[in-house]
């Protein structure tokens, strides 16, 4: 679009057919609904030369017309009057929904894709007012902006809009400062990626006890009201305040992600941990109440404890089983955490991260053969960005680091019924101060 509108170069976009609705929506939201596009079948990835030739010489799956005919026409056919002006329009979101019966409103919210398909609490003015009473911030104060992807427009939202979604999630008003902090991060929990990424949320500090959050038995499961509804609120506010999360239009996750319902929200078990809490690692005081967001949540590895004989190899295999684009996140029951500290001599979480970084290496040829590495790291490497450029210069059988050194983190959660631990893919994004939103 930049090339077309900013540089005056006629462009035809080539896409795969499953992105038809997304493309039409994106160009319209950028004021250029007439951008010329042609579609080939999905996928392009992994197809042979002859198969791709068939794509190019074949028909557009959307229109049924020859692909290259559409391409040539797209560059040479005269523009329409609408093409010469683009499309300008205002959009607004009304404060209230048209009054209706409870049954009809539930149906409307579901039909409009405003829910996560589970029943919600209707956001009446009274309920929203009760939620708003738990922050000193005014209802019309701007909280932040979120966008579905980096290429989509950013939508803005106020304290009241966040309260509406918090009510819908079933959150109690006293949870509101945590939910506001999440909204103020400008980090969506419902970004659109064909990878179906989810989010993960960790709460630290005194707010955990104030809200009776769970950091022990079942903390990551459906057993604690605060854990569940704070996570759900983050999901609902993300999808609704960023402009939607509708499959095929504003959400393209190929398989979806079950974590997206409540974003694996839990309180860190600071009291049983052998290490300092996560938020203290990030520079906060132990007495600060914070909420930390992790994105790109895909992979979950799992095992029971560590044994003296081959614990290093067990951890190595779990790390090597991840896609190198993942960011390893150790989520340890306190018993497992103490085992790591004892067996490895890891006095701090940073020492564990350093060791894991060094341990996780694979031959360069294999590293560069991951599709996600080809998509997201190879271009940066050819651009000269380190440490990726060095990995590109490595011999095929030379071992290279799978992960970035600062991408590995650890939290402690669980009730010590056993030494289970997980290795998530979860990239640390940012930590927000909850106290700012009380």
């Amino acid at each position: 679009m930049t090339l077309e509108s900013g540089y005056g170069v006629p462009v035809v976009m080539l896409h795969t057919h499953v992105f038809d609705r997304v493309v039409r929506s994106t160009v319209r939201m950028n004021g250029m609904p007439g951008m010329r596009a042609a579609y080939v079948p999905q996928p392009v990835m992994g197809k042979s030369e002859s198969e791709l030739w068939e794509y190019v010489t074949g028909k557009n799956p959307i229109t049924g017309r020859a692909v290259m005919q559409e391409v040539v026409e797209g560059l040479t056919s005269p523009l329409t009057t609408d093409d010469l002006s683009g499309e300008t329009f205002e959009r607004s979101t009304p404060r209230l929904v048209e009054p209706d019966t409870e049954e009809n409103l539930h149906a409307l919210f579901l039909r409009n894709h405003w829910t996560d398909t589970l029943p919600i609490v209707l956001p009446t003015e009274e309920r929203v007012a009760n939620m708003l009473a738990h922050t000193r911030h005014k209802p019309d104060e701007l909280v932040g902006r979120m966008r579905i992807t980096g290429h989509r427009e950013a939508w803005a939202y106020t304290v009241e809009k966040v309260a509406v979604n918090a009510v819908m999630a079933g959150a109690r008003p006293e949870y509101f400062p945590v939910i506001l902090a999440l909204a103020a991060s400008n980090v969506t929990a419902r970004g659109s990626s064909s990878s179906s990424m989810a989010s993960l949320v960790v709460v630290n500090g005194p707010i955990r006890q104030e809200l009776e959050m769970n950091s022990g038995i079942g903390a990551m499961g459906p057993f604690n009201h605060a854990n569940s509804t704070i996570g759900r609120a983050y999901s609902l506010l993300s999808q609704n305040l960023e402009g939607g999360s509708v499959p095929g239009l504003t959400y393209m996750g190929s398989q979806g992600n079950a974590y997206s319902f409540t974003n694996v929200t839990f309180a860190e078990n600071e009291e049983a941990s052998p290490w300092e809490p996560f938020h203290v690692e990030q520079g906060f005081k132990p007495t600060d109440s914070t909420v930390s967001i992790f994105g790109s949540v895909w992979h979950t590895g799992f095992t029971l404890g560590l044994r003296e004989g081959h614990w290093r190899q067990v951890v190595e295999r779990m790390l090597l089983g991840m896609d190198p684009l993942c960011r390893p996140f150790f989520v340890l029951d306190p018993i497992a955490a103490r085992q790591f500290a004892e067996f490895g001599g890891f006095e701090t979480k940073a020492k564990l991260a350093e060791w894991a970084y060094d341990l996780a290496r694979i031959p360069a040829a294999q590293y560069w053969d991951y599709q996600l590495i080809q998509n997201y790291i190879y271009p940066r490497a050819t651009f000269g960005e380190e440490p990726f450029a060095s990995r590109l210069r490595a011999a095929p059988d030379e071992l290279v680091h799978m992960f970035a050194p600062d991408s590995i983190h650890t939290v402690v959660v669980g009730g010590e019924t056993n030494a289970y631990w997980r290795l998530f893919s979860a990239g640390y994004t940012r930590t927000m101060n909850v106290d700012d939103w009380r």
């Binding site: 170069v9 607004s92 979101t93 209230l96 019966t101 509406v164």
Partner: protein
């Protein structure tokens, strides 16, 4: 039941027919400003068309077939396959300036 009776029942809040007022959960979208498309060419013959690889999911391999098509079917068109300098999410003003300077049109693929 008469229509009038039904309407009275709805407005007076009669059990399941009570009308609730609730707030809209959607955020505030920005204004959309229209942008004009670039003028089209009368013909591609004698022109240079850049085939821009977005560096995603084997895009370059598809564009190579597009290039082959031009060689076979429109040999009067010069094509150049170029790649974005970085990942697809990063703007590449140097490449856009080069295309503007040296080319007449662009085919950009594969969008994702």
């Amino acid at each position: 039941m008469t229509i009038a009776h039904e309407q009275r029942r709805a407005t007076r809040g009669d059990g399941a027919h009570t009308h609730l007022s609730v707030l809209n959960p959607m955020g505030y979208p920005p204004r959309v400003t229209g942008k004009a498309l670039a003028p089209r060419l009368d013909s591609l013959d004698g022109k240079t068309v850049f085939l821009v690889d977005c560096r995603f999911d084997d895009s370059a391999r598809l564009l190579e077939q597009v290039q082959t098509w031009f060689v076979k079917h429109m040999p009067g068109v010069t094509t150049r396959v170029v790649s974005l300098a970085n990942v697809y999410g990063k703007d590449d003003p140097e490449l856009w300036a080069r295309i503007k300077r040296e080319g007449h049109a662009a085919i950009v693929g594969v969008g994702h």
